[in-house]
Amino acid sequence: MLHFYLAGINNQNFLMRDRETGTWWQQITGKAIYGPLQGAALDLVLSDELTFGQWRTESPSGQVLAPVAKYTKEYDSNWEPDVAKLPVVISFPGTELKSRDVVIGLTIDGAARSYPWETFAKQSPVLDRVNGTPLLLVLGPDGKSFRVFLARIDGHDAEFFLQANSSADPAAHNKDWTMLDTTTASQWNFQGCATSGPAQGKCLARIPALKDYWFDWRNYHPDTTVYKR
């Protein structure tokens, strides 16, 4: 078991080292880039980026990291616009996006694709295929949370759309938010589970995805394609 600490910065993606071996690891890839464990890679744990409100409804017995009293002054609830103002040190002129554009990045069998956040949010749910794998990207009822699923029910590709009155509403948490699939006409919640209809009780497989800045995603995925509606 390794314990990691912040050890440096590599083009605004941080470097960490573990106390046990002193190996250097890259944050975004989880790969050991220098030191005794060079070449090793950490397993990625499936995680979500959600609003606290969304997570609370899904995880009644969940636990929240407590703020450390000594550092509450350092916490910045306005981090997103604040970070966006910081300069960038790498850029990819001539690519479709600007350095600080937010994308959802994912990789299917080695093929990387990024979805510009603005396009995604306007169009959600997004149905797409990467390397033949059918994907469903969906914006949560709060208009801020997102998840990516494998768009397959019992091995059959499926299509999804939002049920009427299920538009994302950042102001009010929309409790009636549901998706429908065109294959079984079941109702699905934001966790990717069918709540009623023939598929009731089934859940879609999750696809790991990262919300990232374009420059960072592009730097570590030089062959990434960019989704266009």
Partner: protein, 181 residues
């Protein structure tokens, strides 16, 4: 009538002088090299991996390999510097003594800071993470969190907190994880 001084010491002195100067030159050279390497071990990686600067792959590799060896490297270099400075001190002129002192200070600084993680001075780690039941959290429902669910345990890490600490070691549902932002 003056007695001429014995000739032998007269002949010996310049020879000893030349020898002494050669030894002293060697010692000064070794001292300078040790001092430079102690300084390089600390300052080169610090210069390369500073924020808001482009890190080229080869420069980064150099930075990591120096930083990896810095604790031992700076220690050996600094100790050698101290021994040499002690040997050079008696014969050194006043300005050379000042140079020795100043160099020793910089070398000591390198050896000390090579053992410290100044990134953790900018972004303090969470020593013993505490968790709240979600009902006890004062977090605004609109705030963004990162979450995981492992072995039936659900955890939320507010991004406002993680954007400062950057990294947290945790065990969720028996699985050791590191949370990064």
């Amino acid at each position: 009538m003056s007695v001429p001084a014995p000739s032998t010491p007269q002949l010996q002195t310049p020879q000893t002088d030349r020898q002494g100067r050669r030894i002293s030159f060697c010692l000064w050279t070794i001292f300078s090299l040790c001092a430079l390497s102690a300084i390089a071990f600390f300052f080169i990686p610090t210069f390369i991996i500073r924020p808001f600067r482009y890190q080229a792959p080869r420069a980064l590799f150099l930075a990591m390999s120096l930083r990896q060896r810095a604790p031992l490297g700076t220690l050996i270099a600094a100790l050698t510097c101290f021994v040499l400075a002690f040997a050079l001190w008696r014969t050194a002129s006043r300005w050379r003594k000042a140079l020795l002192t100043l160099t020793l200070l910089v070398v000591t600084f390198s050896a000390v800071v090579a053992r410290l993680n100044y990134f953790e001075w900018m972004f303090h780690p969470i020593a013993g993470p505490q968790f709240l039941a979600q009902a006890d959290s004062k977090l605004d429902p609109k705030e963004m969190i990162m979450s995981v669910r492992l072995g039936g345990d659900a955890r939320a890490y507010p991004i406002s907190q993680m954007a400062y600490h950057h990294i947290l070691n945790d065990v969720v549902g028996g699985v050791p994880i590191t949370v990064t932002y």
